[in-house]
């Protein structure tokens, strides 16, 4: 393990910039800590922390000058790998007529090609290389989950049936280039449950660099681990030295603190995941779905803030001349009524069915689809739900009166 001091953080941002990365990190904006471009460590939310509970998020001044003294905010890195909206392509109609514009030509025949101006516009498919600073362990896991969704592992089921395994070029490009600087969590957030999901709080792998911020009396430094060759190369250019035993211990203690907080219930929550897939599959008619549907506003906040939710809508449009068409992809949500629209109506008209779809997908069918849970326990959906619906409580409620036991009660 290595250490570097506070000023080296600026050097790190600088080195990444020199290497052509757009550096993205936590910044304070509109009362929340979000991820945006940074140019130096001065842009970080120095001395701030976040207090989170179901339906509530507040910033609070810390007693120290911690650079990463918060947990997670409404943004996740998803927005930089799987952009909220992206133009997939543009097309121009050639001279001849096309569908829906019969006025344009009486004659038919030659040359009615869909002319590709570009498979995808430069800006969309060739984004700048991005470096993310402050990637939490749960967020690293979320990125690895989306790797499966958008490429490796996608269609594990389809493959068995001989259908191909596609990969999404928009995601692949961004993901391939992304340089990940993790920051270990030294305190749990109010709605965190990563220890239950096996996704944190300590980032073990999958990063280029991992920092642990240590504030110990007057001492304030970062313990650093490199997790890849390019991580080591970047670290070479940042002044650092080997950690002393005391420093390494202090770093380990800092991470252990967040585990203790979650385990003891001082902060954060827990979710029992044993047999969770079967639990939810056999409880698709549980009365709890009706109960939660009374509270849920179907606002889709939970899906927008979730770092793994991947649903999108595809929108085609053309300009007023009808000669130029574009296709856009935008984040979508299973909470929208039209999401499952088939002529005649939605497949899931009720909020009950939509909440059930969301939670069952996250915690159960995701496992069948991608071999992993779709939840990393980051707590965002709990914090940002306007009515404070808590996925850990919902699971607990269903578990408490599992269909199996209900059957048992009836017969017993």
């Amino acid at each position: 393990m290595q250490v570097f001091d506070l000023s080296a953080l600026d050097r790190l941002v600088q080195v990444l910039g020199e290497r052509g990365y757009l550096v993205i990190g936590p910044v304070l904006r509109d009362g929340a800590i979000v991820y945006d471009e940074i140019t130096s460590s001065r842009d970080l939310p120095i001395g701030w922390t976040d207090l989170q509970e179901g339906g509530s998020y507040r910033l609070h001044k810390r007693a120290d000058q911690a650079r990463f003294g918060y947990v997670v905010g409404p943004h996740s890195w998803k927005r930089y790998l799987f952009p909220p909206e992206v133009r997939l392509w543009q097309l121009r109609r050639s001279r001849d007529g096309y569908l829906g514009s019969r006025q344009s030509s009486g004659q038919t025949g030659d040359n009615g090609q869909l002319d590709a101006i570009s498979p995808a516009t430069q800006g969309d498919l060739s984004p700048p290389r991005q470096a993310f600073i402050g990637v939490r362990s749960c967020e690293l896991h979320a990125i690895h989950i989306q790797d499966r969704v958008f490429g490796a592992g996608n269609g594990a089921r389809g493959a068995a049936r001989g259908t191909p395994n596609w990969h999404d070029p928009v995601y692949a490009r961004r993901r391939h280039d992304a340089f990940l600087v993790s920051v270990q969590c030294t305190q749990a957030g109010g709605t965190c449950f990563c220890t239950s999901m096996g996704t944190g709080p300590k980032a073990e792998s999958g990063f280029d660099l991992a920092l642990t911020e240590v504030i110990d009396g007057k001492e304030h430094y970062f313990a650093v681990e490199a997790g890849s060759d390019r991580g080591r190369e970047v670290l070479e250019e940042v002044p650092h030295r080997a950690a002393t035993d005391t420093e390494a211990e202090a770093a380990a203690r800092a991470v252990a603190r967040s585990v203790d907080q979650m385990d003891s219930g001082v902060r954060g929550r827990t979710m029992e995941t044993a047999g969770i897939k079967e639990l939810l599959y056999r409880n698709q008619e549980h009365p709890r779905w009706d109960e939660v549907a009374q509270r849920c506003l179907a606002c889709a906040n939970c899906t927008m803030v979730c770092p793994t939710c991947f649903c999108s809508n595809v929108e085609d449009k053309s300009d007023i001349t009808g000669e130029h068409a574009e296709r856009w992809r935008r984040w979508d949500s299973c909470f929208h009524r039209d999401f499952s629209y088939l002529h005649g109506g939605s497949v899931r008209p009720s909020t009950r069915a939509r909440y059930r779809q969301w939670m069952t997908h996250k915690l159960a069918s995701w496992i069948d689809q991608f071999g992993t849970s779709g939840c990393v326990g980051c707590g965002r959906c709990i914090t940002w739900c306007p009515v404070g619906i808590d996925i850990t409580e919902e699971v607990a409620a269903i578990r408490a009166s599992d269909a199996q036991h209900r059957e048992g009660e009836k017969s017993g």
Binding site: G112, T163, D168, A172, G322, A364
Partner: protein
């Protein structure tokens, strides 16, 4: 069309051009099937060739600037030089597509999805049950069975439409009906005076066709309620769950497993389906609004 991931990407490259980019195809023939349904023959307009397809698969058809929708391939798999689709105009995109004329261009992505079980069904009696536009996705399977006629036992087609005027492929139906070893039964929900055939739901006709339930493969495509009733009756007669296949319909925005719209429990209908064995989806079909 360059794809972008490099080979050491954590995401393996599929090796094809952008999977969201439609290819231009030209309409070379347009047949009006009913007042709202047409059949198109399409050939590539970009000089390329047509990838083969398996009966049951679908394409995403794109109306320039308007939208893109999943449409099953309805042609004969033994005749892959033309791509054949039958579309019913029900909304913005299908209406724009149905309004297209011979010579016009349609965007095509595909083929996508799973196939009807032509191999597994070898030696079995075959029962195809179609409702409405559901005959279109079944027609390629029917062609396949006819091509390999000796490979299968009795072949029956039960087809229901709302009215006689809404029957698809009428001339072909007449032709098939006259063939030895084929049972073709057609019914309508509402009939005018000039209709001499049966009236009522398709499942009523099950008793009119001959098959040995123990060695039967049944293929279903139509409205979900129709398929539910057909499944109920077939299983009652003794057809096994894993010998009943159905084609599911869900909203689809990408057809490649990314947009999430087509989810049906753990299945992505676009790639794990649209054709499923009843055994694989029985649990899901039992739950409303899933």
């Amino acid at each position: 069309m360059a794809t972008s991931a490099t080979s050491d990407s954590p995401l393996r490259e599929h090796g094809v051009a952008d999977p969201m980019m439609p290819r231009p195809f030209r309409i070379t023939r347009k047949v009006k099937e009913t007042h709202d349904t047409v059949t198109f023959d399409l050939v590539p307009a970009d000089g390329g060739t047509i990838a083969g397809f398996a009966p049951g698969q679908f394409n995403m058809l794109y109306a320039f600037g308007i939208g893109e929708v999943p449409i099953s391939i309805s042609g004969d798999p033994a005749n892959p030089e033309v791509l054949i689709h039958t579309l019913r105009a029900v909304g913005a995109v299908t209406r724009a597509l149905c309004d297209a004329r011979r010579g016009d261009i349609v965007g095509v992505r595909g083929p996508f999805g799973t196939a009807w079980p032509a191999e597994q069904a070898r030696g079995d009696d075959i029962v195809l049950i179609a409702g409405g536009i559901g005959l279109a996705p079944l027609r390629p399977a029917f062609y396949r069975f006819l091509t390999d006629r000796r490979t299968y036992g009795r072949i029956s087609l039960i087809y229901g439409a709302r009215t006689p005027a809404e029957l698809l492929y009428r001339r072909e139906l007449e032709h098939w009906r006259g063939q030895f070893g084929l049972d073709v039964e057609v019914t309508v929900d509402h009939a005018a005076a000039d209709w001499y055939g049966p009236v009522g739901v398709v499942t009523r006709l099950l008793s009119r066709v001959r098959f040995d339930p123990i060695d039967t493969t049944a293929l279903l495509c139509g409205p979900e309620v129709m398929m539910r009733f057909a499944i109920r009756d077939l299983t009652r007669l003794g057809v096994a769950d894993d010998h009943i296949f159905l084609s599911m319909e869900r909203n689809m925005k990408c057809a490649i497993g990314f947009c999430g719209h087509c989810q049906f429990g753990p299945a992505f209908v676009c790639k794990d389906g649209p054709v499923f064995s009843y055994r694989d989806v029985a649990r899901l079909l039992a739950v409303a609004e899933i």
